[in-house]
């Protein structure tokens, strides 16, 4: 058995193992479908983002057009400032509205963009003014019960 060849194989094995560990540890952090160079960022403010997470998809008409880049809490307005990284290929009017939606009943949350009619397009670091918060199930049920109670109340 040639000593150097054997050492080479063991070395490759150890390196492969460590690479696999690193892959697991970093969990492919750089895997981003939309690259920074070919994208622009816009900010949308929401009263409540529900379960939205960074890197969640941004969809328009059901097509993924970008990803959530960052979510911060604005301590002055008490709103959530969500940075959306959109693909440069897609331009949206200035009065586009953003809503937080849920895919399926229990699925993950994403941002849906609804295009408006403004002739000017959104540019980098622009802000989306029309936003709709995530639907919180408890509030919905609360409203429903409240409405039912009102119905039954004597006039």
């Amino acid at each position: 058995m040639n000593k150097t060849v054997l050492d080479l194989w063991v070395g490759l094995f150890v390196i492969a193992g460590i690479v696999a560990l690193l892959f697991l540890a970093l969990k492919v952090g750089s895997m981003s479908a939309v690259k920074t160079s070919s994208s622009y960022e816009v900010v949308a403010r929401f009263d409540n983002i529900g379960g939205l997470k960074p890197r969640a998809p941004v969809k328009s008409a059901g097509v993924v057009v970008g990803r959530v880049a960052d979510i911060r809490f604005d301590n002055e307005t008490y709103e959530a400032a969500v940075t959306l990284r959109l693909d440069k290929r897609y331009a949206f009017p200035k009065d586009t509205s953003a809503a937080i939606m849920t895919s399926g009943l229990l699925g993950e949350q994403y941002i849906g963009l609804e295009a408006g009619g403004d002739p000017q397009a959104l540019k980098d670091q622009d802000r989306i003014f029309l936003t709709q918060s995530a639907v919180v199930l408890e509030n919905l049920i609360g409203h429903f019960i409240y409405g039912k109670a009102q119905e039954g109340a004597p006039q």
């Binding site: 054997l6 063991v10 895997m31 895919s103």
Partner: protein, 262 residues
């Protein structure tokens, strides 16, 4: 008749206790004589080639297929609840926490453990170990300890490769074949898998499994009756005992590690 069976039972119990005591003494002796395995690291590297590198094919291929099956089955179930995007979380957590260390250890036990037992058992049967003792070479330091450390080092690497391969398999089936959203697959996985809680605990598990398997395999080989029948019996016992030990240890370790999460 009755007396005979009681005598047999007692004899077996005494034999079992004797073997456990000898195995414990053997384990301590291996640890105490590990100096040579590190001073002459070439010996350990040689063994790592046989236990680690040669196990790569079976580990990688099994990992890929286990991941692909997880992707298919997980999708079927998650689809019912409309949360296909959680497929990445399901595949990654089941691999990193359980399947990676355990299945890799079971494969390692049958691929490398049996080979170690057969090799050492045959060395004993052909009196190579006695010959070493005659030349004032300690067989535990020269033969056993390098194999022990090679197994202990190889096992976590193999388990990590198994998990990584499995996640890749789950990605292939889930994202490329079925069409789960790629970003959601990775992002949900990333946000759900914790480094210390999941990955580090998986590595600790595989190190413990590595120690258990190599100790059992080396002991069975060292303790094998020096006949062809004895070596074959010892090889079978290695696979059975170390597989059971892996599963039992896995339960104990899981109970300790994830107690707070249940």
């Amino acid at each position: 008749m009755l007396k005979q069976s009681i005598e047999n039972l007692g004899n077996r119990t005494i034999q079992g206790v004797w073997r456990i005591g000898f195995a414990a003494r053997f384990f301590v002796a291996v640890l105490l004589h590990s100096g040579t395995a590190f001073r002459r690291f070439g010996l350990t590297i040689r063994e790592m080639y046989f236990t680690g590198v040669l196990s790569l094919i079976i580990i990688l291929v099994s990992g890929l297929f286990v991941g692909m099956v997880l992707g298919l089955q997980g999708y079927e179930t998650l689809q019912t609840y409309g949360s296909e995007e959680a497929l990445g979380v399901l595949v990654a957590l089941s691999l990193v926490r359980e399947l990676g260390p355990v299945v890799a250890a079971l494969l390692f036990a049958s691929r490398a453990g049996s080979a170690i037992t057969a090799e050492i058992g045959l060395m004993k049967a052909t009196e190579q170990l006695s010959a070493m003792e005659m030349m004032a070479v300690d067989p535990i330091a020269r033969v056993v300890a390098p194999r022990f450390w090679a197994g202990v080092i190889s096992m976590p690497l193999l388990a990590a490769l198994f998990s990584a391969m499995g996640i890749f398999g789950g990605y292939l089936v889930g994202v490329q074949l079925i069409g789960v959203d790629e970003g959601a697959f990775w992002s949900q996985m990333k946000s759900a898998v914790d480094f210390e809680e999941d990955i580090l605990n998986g590595v600790i598990k595989s190190v413990v499994f590595g120690i258990a398997i190599t100790t059992i395999a080396l002991f069975e080989g060292y303790d094998a009756p020096p006949t062809a029948e004895g070596v074959s019996g010892a090889t079978t016992r290695t696979v059975v005992t170390s597989s059971l030990a892996v599963l039992a240890l896995d339960f104990v370790l899981t109970a300790f590690m994830f107690r707070g999460l249940g």
